[in-house]
Amino acid sequence: MEIINVRFDEELISRLDELVAKGVFKNRSQALRSITKDFLDNHPQLFPLGRYERRGGGDMGDSELEEVCAEIFSGPSTASELIGEGRGR
């Protein structure tokens, strides 16, 4: 894990400490990790591309891409017709 230094105003620290005192979090560090993770997980629109790779899903190699595309795009509709559906045809 990497350590980062962050400045907080007293009011935020006081509210955080209150949650630690209540036992919601074990300590400030765990509280901040948990709150940050919740925020990032609940705002996927902030990561429109590569979000899943950042989560550890891994890149898709050429052969896997060919295989998955062949599976999802196969069928009687042509590529042009599939795109045409999205164009309102």
Partner: protein, 181 residues
């Protein structure tokens, strides 16, 4: 330099498509840099949406894992698209649309598409591609003599479209033959 419609890119990844072989050759040329193309930024959106839609349709996205896999697929596909030797046409800024006392700022490409609607009865997204084509020569400072597409709606109207855009609408196989790829 040519304009690439989205279906050419998708055809490359659809082995049973009638234009798969020719589209693959065209994309190989774009990957290697022996061909230069352009397309609208709309192509990025269309490629993303068709992959997402078809993934849901064929595989389903009901589980967290499926959602994750769909995201991997879209990212992988868009990476291949954006690494091609393509210029993505996106006229910068807004322009003013005014009519009979009404006036509103809108993306320049929308305004150009509205102008095209006075001359052609096209679907809105088709119209955005054509507007991007018409912008491309000014933005690139080069001729874009071919619009390569597998779309029958465009190809069946190629004569009229050529009169308006000055561009030849051609399918991937015709383009492949023309360039002897």
């Amino acid at each position: 330099m040519f304009y690439m419609d989205t279906n050419v890119f998708i055809s490359r990844y659809k082995p049973d498509d009638p234009y798969h072989s020719s589209s693959s050759n065209i994309l190989n040329g774009l990957e290697e840099g022996s061909l230069e193309g352009c397309t609208s930024t709309l192509t990025i959106l269309e490629a993303s949406c068709v992959a997402s839609r078809m993934y849901d349709h064929r595989i389903g996205a009901g589980s967290e894992e499926a959602v994750r896999e769909r995201g991997r697929l879209i990212s992988a596909l868009l990476k291949r698209l954006t690494k091609l030797n393509l210029v993505f046409i996106q006229p910068a800024g807004d322009t003013r649309f005014s009519l009979d006392g009404f006036s509103v700022e809108m993306p320049a490409i929308f305004n150009a598409s509205i102008n095209l609607s006075y001359r052609l009865g096209l679907k809105s997204l088709d119209s955005i591609h054509l507007a991007a084509l018409m912008y491309s020569e000014n933005l690139l400072g080069r001729e874009v003599p071919f619009f390569v597409t597998g779309d029958r709606d465009f190809l069946d109207r190629r004569r009229g479209l050529r009169e308006i855009t000055g561009c030849t609408f051609i399918d991937p196989t015709e383009f492949e033959e023309l360039l002897d790829l």
